[in-house]
């Protein structure tokens, strides 16, 4: 099975060949490194940008204006915060020009904690980004969705922000990406750049059968079905929720576990239907908890299904600290861990009304 990084690579390759992608660029995105997480190894349109995030987003916008199609990477979302004005511009071009221009552009950036990244390789970005208009915002939890949402992004006439949970970069999926070789070793041999040797003459041998597999925006996926509570999550923490649901079934507790996948526009009907069924709602993410995107999910769910709620709907999110510290304890106690997720789900399912 492909890893998330390999899924990105294959999707971008498909985009270069079939969806008009002209430029894949960012810091260290080109040869020889192919991205700090190897996501852009071997791609024919990949190139190294100057160390200037504002220049990256601005250039990407210009490429879109001129009819190109860029996939721009910000090396870590931790370094995107000097560009929020430019993201806003990308998102308002179509509206402010009364439809004259559009901004077909994909930005991808690794997010979240989980790799001992310290204060500046652990940021989350979904709360701030969903507050920026004119973008679609996605955050996959597995390689297959990563592939399918990147394909969707490269077909979009609007800017799309693809948030890649960095802790999942090397994680394999449970479902194959259509067209990937059955044999993992073969996949690695074909598309992983060799390590420890000169890569100058290395070329990938892309799998032949890659497809147009597309995950449409705005459609959640129900990963587990159950009765006792609804859990809404995405990205890395979605997997913790699934795991906890499986474990809690031993205690007789079952959950609807909803993988939002797209955060803007998010799939309210699916959330609503589930809450109406279970009467309980827990939203889980790892962004800091003040003005957190999960609070938006809660608010919209309350708007739609307040009278179905038996107990207070809750958010489990990161502590409101200025950063995730490097030492083990900081991450452990400021970012929800597997045990915290499980405890919060159990509490939600068993809270007395």
């Amino acid at each position: 099975m492909a890893t998330q990084a390999q899924a990105v690579r294959m999707a971008l390759h498909y985009g270069e060949e079939n969806l008009g992608v002209t430029d894949i660029f960012g810091e260290d995105v080109g040869a020889p490194l192919g991205g700090v997480f190897t996501c852009t190894q071997g791609l024919k349109t990949a190139w190294n940008a100057p160390l200037d995030e504002r220049g990256i987003i601005g250039t990407a916008l210009g490429i879109a204006y001129a009819g190109g199609r860029a996939v721009a990477e910000i090396q870590f979302c931790d370094y995107i915060f000097n560009c929020i004005d430019l993201l806003k511009l990308c998102g308002n071009v179509h509206w402010s020009s009364a439809g004259a221009y559009c901004v077909p552009l994909t930005v991808m950036t690794p997010v979240g904690a989980g790799i001992h990244g310290s204060m500046y390789h652990s940021h989350s970005f979904e709360s701030m980004m969903t507050h920026v208009q004119g973008w679609k915002v996605v955050m996959p939890s597995n390689p297959l969705d990563t592939y399918g949402m990147l394909i969707a992004a490269m077909k979009e006439p609007n800017p799309v922000m693809v948030l890649l949970p960095k802790a999942l970069m090397r994680t394999k999926g449970e479902e194959p990406i259509p067209g990937e070789p059955d044999d993992e070793k073969e996949l690695n041999a074909r598309i992983n750049a060799p390590v420890g040797v000169d890569r100058t003459n290395w070329r990938p041998r892309w799998p032949d059968g890659l497809t147009d597999y597309t995950v449409p925006f705005g459609v959640a996926r129900v990963r587990r079905e159950g009765r006792n509570a609804t859990v809404v999550s995405y990205g890395r923490h979605l997997n913790l929720c699934v795991q906890a649901a499986d474990e809690l079934s031993a205690e007789g507790l079952t959950f609807d576990v909803i993988d939002l996948r797209t955060l803007y526009p998010f799939d309210l009907p699916t959330v609503k239907a589930s809450v109406e069924k279970t009467g309980r709602l827990l939203v889980v993410n790892e962004d800091t908890e003040v003005t957190n995107f999960g609070e938006h999910v809660l608010r919209r769910a309350i708007d739609e299904a307040f009278y179905s709620l038996e107990v207070p709907p809750r958010l489990l999110a990161g502590l409101d600290v200025p950063g995730v510290g490097l030492a083990w304890g900081y991450e452990q106690y400021s970012v929800p861990q597997a045990a915290d997720v499980k405890a919060a789900m159990r509490a939600m399912a068993t809270a007395t009304t």
Binding site: D52, T59, A66, Y101, K155, P157
Partner: protein
């Protein structure tokens, strides 16, 4: 579809027609038009036909020559323009309809640039590659390398032209433009303009700029640069012609600064009052009369013709509808299949 006048000259090393009397008259005509429109819009603001005015009166000798020299059309074969809010003379000299500026000034739903959403002089004209004017100062300098990058790959003679004020060069985005335009072996055809009017709102340039010659900052990146008297349309025209030929055929950046006037102050926020600054239209007209290229009577006729034209346009605009509730959510997201 896009009007396109693909008039690449046979001799690949020059660009634009030489200065003739006919050209001088065209320059004069377009400068008068631009001035009158801006003055009309200032009056509109004063008489309640618009909330806010900002624009370029005083920059006609800088803008009109550029407008005449643009290789206009759609797509990377043609020039891209990344402009700011004092660029009306450029856009009008390219052939924009006066009535459309008045529409944006009055925020009518018929405003073709923004449907009444943006301030006046915030153009977005896709068929001429005029990308949306950003209200944020200097951000146009980071999108310009993007269009130029596509043009570099495309080949041809299309360049990206970016225009902005002096104070705005303090934003890091100005430096980003210089840097991205000069990656070794990947140099970009960007004409980097600076309209030096010695002010940023109320802040005089000498308080915040180490030198009035801002173009020399391009020198640190190996970019050829020059300062020109932006109040003299002939000087500007010649300088732009040369700079554009360089960018088009060398496929490399050039930085040109024009020293210009801010004739009505910053904007309506500061009253839009006439200031004691050089008036490039009056000076140029006097010179043409002195040189007998123009008589006083023909000059007067030019003013009258545009005055009449603009008056009629204004009367028309006053009858046009304003945006309503149903326009708010239009264009929030582009529909599938949209393209530039």
């Amino acid at each position: 579809m896009a009007p396109s006048d693909d008039t690449a000259p046979a001799d690949a090393r020059t660009w634009g027609e030489p200065v003739t009397d006919a050209l001088k008259l065209r320059l004069h005509d377009a400068m008068v038009q631009a001035r009158l429109i801006e003055e009309t819009m200032i009056r509109m603001m004063r008489t309640g036909h618009g909330y806010f005015w900002i624009g370029g009166p005083g920059e006609e000798a800088w803008g009109v020559p550029l407008g005449l020299l643009v290789h206009k059309g759609t797509g990377p074969a043609h020039d891209f323009l990344h402009l700011h809010y004092r660029s009306s003379a450029i856009v009008l000299a390219m052939g924009a309809q006066p009535i459309d500026l008045l529409r944006q000034m009055r925020s009518t739903v018929t405003d073709p640039y923004s449907m009444g959403r943006n301030f006046v002089n915030h153009f977005a004209i896709r068929h001429w590659n005029i990308v949306p004017v950003t209200p944020t100062i200097e951000t146009q300098y980071v999108s310009a390398p993007g269009t130029a990058w596509v043009q570099r790959r495309f080949g041809g003679i299309g360049v990206s032209i970016v225009n902005g004020g002096d104070a705005g060069t303090a934003e890091g985005d100005f430096a980003s433009c210089l840097n991205w335009s000069t990656r070794p072996g990947q140099e970009l055809p960007v004409l980097i303009l600076i309209a030096q009017n010695n002010w940023g709102i109320s802040t005089p340039a000498h308080q915040v700029q180490s030198s009035a010659d801002l173009a020399q900052r391009a020198g640190g990146y190996g970019i050829p640069h020059r300062v020109v008297d932006g109040n003299d349309p002939i000087a500007t025209y010649e300088a732009l012609r040369e700079a554009l030929a360089w960018c088009r055929y060398e496929r490399k950046p050039f930085c040109l600064q024009g020293n210009v006037a801010r004739l009505y102050g910053h904007s309506s926020s500061s009253g839009a009052l006439r200031h004691e600054e050089p008036d490039c239209v009056a000076t140029f007209e006097a010179r043409l009369v002195r040189e007998s290229t123009l008589t006083e009577a023909t000059a007067r006729a030019v003013w009258d013709r545009w005055q009449t034209h603009i008056h009629a346009a204004l009367e028309q605009v006053k009858t046009e509808p304003m945006p309503e509730r149903e326009h708010v959510m239009l264009h929030v997201l582009a529909p599938a299949g949209s393209q530039n």
